[in-house]
Amino acid sequence: MEIEKIVENVAFNILKQAVIYLPEDVKQALKKAYDEETSETGRTQLKAILDNIELAEKYQAPICQDTGTIIFYIKAGSEVKGLEKIEKALINATRKATKQVPLRPNAVDPFTQKNSGDNTGRLIPFINWEIVPGNSLELTVMTKGGGSENVCVTGMLVPGEGINGLKRFVVEAVIKAGSKPCPPNILGVAIGGGADISMKLAKKALLRPLNEPNPDAEIAKLEKEILEAVNMTGIGPMGLGGKTTVLGVNIDYAYRHPASFPAAVAFNCWAARRASARINADGIIEYLTHKKKAGEVI
């Protein structure tokens, strides 16, 4: 089969997987939160979330009506032929998924306010490219909800304050966001690089599973410290009060300019939808986040 067709099929499959099935690590974190939540209203909310996850799987329907803005992350092996055809394949897969899954059309022209109706438009779906050695192609999709996107923040911290400035920045972001991003949330946090780079890293950090702490032990410790701190806010599930406000904090970084300390916090709602697959040179397709048989359309 042509690379374009293979990519289109695989992209359609991971889009469908992402919006219907939450990744296992997110499900487990939500179950744990339900077991540990002491607020009665908070428990009602988490119960509704868990019931909803089951119903979505049973009826093969999107978990949330906001099926998000579609963002692809592509790891392209440098030896893969036909890379120039991938963009078109991803756009076609998006259109097909919008119709067939179905997804809510969420791409609006910011000047005319017209909805394109098929989740595509200038730079949407957004594609992040990374060139890696080898001859396989790894596709990841994130379908990013609007409610949690609306509270994402970037800021320029005072370099002299160091990591303490970051801790304050994250706590304030969570307090300000309150009920809006559909807590319990996942936080992608990044520092350094520049204003654009920190947010890009923060958003990408949302892809890391909740049961995988940062490989750097010091950063892993900071992730845990911030997680415990933001869960002391009492915002709780859906902002109705309780001890589960955030399920996990994933931190990434780049080196910074001596005068700048860019920081970014990307929020994801509890419906943290992502899915990945790898297309190998021999045509074998591995679904990485959702363990389904190769080629099986779920």
Partner: protein, 201 residues
Amino acid sequence: MAIYHLKTPISEEEIRKLKVNDVIFITGTIVTARDQAHRRALEYAKQGKNLPINLDGLALFHCGPVVKKEGEKWIAVAAGPTTSTRMDIFEDEFIKNFKVRVVIGKGGMGKKTTDAMAKYGAVYGAFTGGAAILAAKAIKSIKSVEWLDLGTPEAMWIFEVEDFGPLAVAIDSHGNNLFLDVQKKVEENRQKIYEKLGLSS
């Protein structure tokens, strides 16, 4: 915490019984409106034009559903709530003009809406954000859709529902607002968090 099953049209008397933290389920007609439909509805009211449906005693739902059309029939595939604060700029006028008794959404609403709910007799029912299939399964049919020119998320969808919920009464008609209470507590907790992290305030 009491549980109530309400049928539309809902009377002011039934609404006045409800207190924050109660849980309600609604059977009857609920109507969606997001930013654009709110804006248009209020323009209609200003011009003295009737809305496509009389909202008196019904529930308003902040929702842009995923829908599909089978033949001539629309089906709600996923229909969870959207963030309600965006509608805060319209809601007091909306409640005053159209006499909806329940506003369903997520994330809560502010002081102006809370005051209007106390004045005219309405409550805010928080539906779990993202729980779109739970909502869709309670929608028995789509009666009609109006203002489809606004796009499917922003159009006004008229749903027939059965035991739609659970909705946590987060703003009652007596001036209580659970979200604002939680926010107050969060403000109080900030100092403790700063101390734990070794930050100066």
